[in-house]
């Protein structure tokens, strides 16, 4: 296939999902620059492997490539891997907080505050974080998540359940923290 046609097809089938790809990379790496680098590298990988793309779902295939690229980068960065262990002290600082005393009104505002929710999800271990992002933000089916993360559908189900449990605990924990 001529390069021009291949590029056009790649844009239409794969790059059309660039927002999904960046979103997933940003949630896995938890860093703007790292996400950007991972997506660029992942797109080159996808471009090279484009002829071997299998299955009827280019988006799921592309997200799997992006995820693998992110994990390779995370693995290279040992410090980041260590940070995957949840640390209350560390992540307390990730939530938007200021020195002013916390009022009940603040709690109500914070509960709907996107930044605060982001920090709660960011604090989850990666294996739960990624399935929650794929399900709640990307609205993918269990079958698609299973293909992207390369785990059985039963594991998708149990990881989502466990991830949501953890997220609910974090939300309650943070609210109690604000109340004190």
């Amino acid at each position: 296939m001529a390069t021009g046609q291949r590029t056009a097809r790649f844009e239409e089938q794969v790059l059309a999902h660039l927002d999904s790809a960046y979103n997933l990379a940003r949630w896995i790496t938890r860093d703007d620059a790292a996400a950007r680098d991972a997506v660029q590298d992942g797109c080159l990988r996808a471009w090279r492997a484009f002829d071997q793309m299998q299955g009827p779902n280019p988006r799921a295939w592309f997200l799997a490539v992006i995820r693998n690229t992110c994990l390779d980068r995370v693995r290279e960065d040992r410090q980041r891997a260590v940070e995957d262990e949840y640390d209350d002290e560390l992540h307390a600082g990730a939530a938007p907080e200021d020195a002013r005393p916390i009022t009940p009104e603040d709690i109500a505002v914070r509960a709907s505050d996107a930044r605060w929710l982001r920090a709660s999800i960011d604090a989850l271990p990666r294996e739960y974080r990624e399935v929650i992002v794929l399900r709640e933000i990307e609205e993918l089916s269990y079958k698609e998540i299973s293909a992207i993360v390369d785990i059985p559908i039963g594991t998708v189900m149990s990881r989502l359940a466990r991830g949501r449990d953890l997220l609910q605990q974090r939300m309650r924990f943070a609210q109690e923290r604000f109340r004190r």
């Binding site: 296939m1 001529a2 390069t3 021009g4 046609q5 291949r6 590029t7 790649f10 844009e11 790059l15 660039l18 927002d19 790809a21 960046y22 979103n23 940003r26 949630w27 703007d32 996400a35 950007r36 997506v39 660029q40 797109c43 080159l44 471009w47 090279r48 492997a49 002829d51 071997q52 509960a111 709907s112 505050d113 996107a114 929710l117 982001r118 999800i121 992002v133 399900r135 709640e136 933000i137 089916s141 269990y142 189900m157 149990s158 989502l160 359940a161 949501r164 997220l167 609910q168 939300m171």
Partner: protein
């Protein structure tokens, strides 16, 4: 259904991922179990909080364009000979009458189903012009040839000075093989052009130093650390083997 079982599939139920029978059993259980109903309510509340918060990180402006730029850098140069693109159109159009009329010429063109040696010979033939082999960077100095590929491909091509063995470096060009971008380094032995193609291994690795003779051309293919190689020439087999050995020397 009891609580243990219901809790195990509650999330899949909320996500509408259960078969109708199981979903009916869960619904029935939750309707009569305050504890499970409470968990469902909390899950639903959390989901609407997540939805309302718009947690999506959209791709930054300019990322799409910069990716396309990088792809164009690693992609093979657009074919300069219109016949190549024309062949693509014929292949896509699938005009059998035209195919019949062009049968002989068609066979001479590389096809995706062809083996790597066949494709290498086809690209070798395509590179031969009356005035000499087609090259993008003409130099007998490997320190000129090799850096030319920086930013154009994602591996460092092997370019050796083999003049002592009688093989003069002519230059190199970007080509494509096996559906991928490839480097072709061109040498000359007397009047014979030698193309050494190299490209990243994706899928089929070439077998260890496999010689073949195709349409009178000699081909040697091999793989080394994630790179496939194919050397093609109309010189005789012994000379090509000598060349390959020199080019591959550690």
């Amino acid at each position: 259904m009891n609580c243990t079982l219901a809790l195990r599939v509650l999330d899949a139920w909320i996500d509408d991922e259960l078969d109708a029978t199981t979903a009916g059993e869960v619904a029935e259980h939750v309707a009569g179990c305050p504890a499970c109903a409470d968990l469902r309510d909390r899950r639903v509340a959390m989901r609407s909080a997540l939805k309302a918060a718009s947690l999506n990180h959209p791709a930054p402006a300019g990322l799409h364009a910069s990716i396309l730029r990088r792809i164009r850098n690693v992609a093979p140069a657009e074919p300069t000979r219109s016949a190549w693109q024309w062949w693509q159109m014929v292949a896509l159009g699938g005009s059998t009458a035209l195919l019949g009329a062009l049968g002989g010429w068609w066979i001479a063109q590389p096809q995706a189903t062809d083996g790597l040696p066949e494709q290498a010979v086809a690209r070798h033939v395509a590179s031969l012009m009356p005035e000499g082999p087609r090259i993008d960077v003409a130099s007998t100095d490997r320190h000129v040839v090799r850096p030319w590929f920086q930013g154009r491909i994602d591996f460092a091509p092997v370019v050796r000075d083999l003049s002592a063995q009688g093989f003069d470096l002519v230059g190199a060009r970007l080509d494509h093989l096996g559906g991928q971008v490839a480097v072709a380094v061109v040498y000359r032995l007397r009047n014979h052009a030698i193309n050494v193609f190299s490209w990243r291994v994706l899928g089929n690795a070439a077998e260890a130093s496999r010689p073949a003779t195709i349409r009178g051309f000699n081909v040697v293919t091999w793989s080394e650390s994630d790179i496939n190689f194919a050397a093609v020439s109309d010189t005789d087999k012994a000379e090509l083997d000598r060349f390959t050995a020199a080019y591959r020397r550690p």
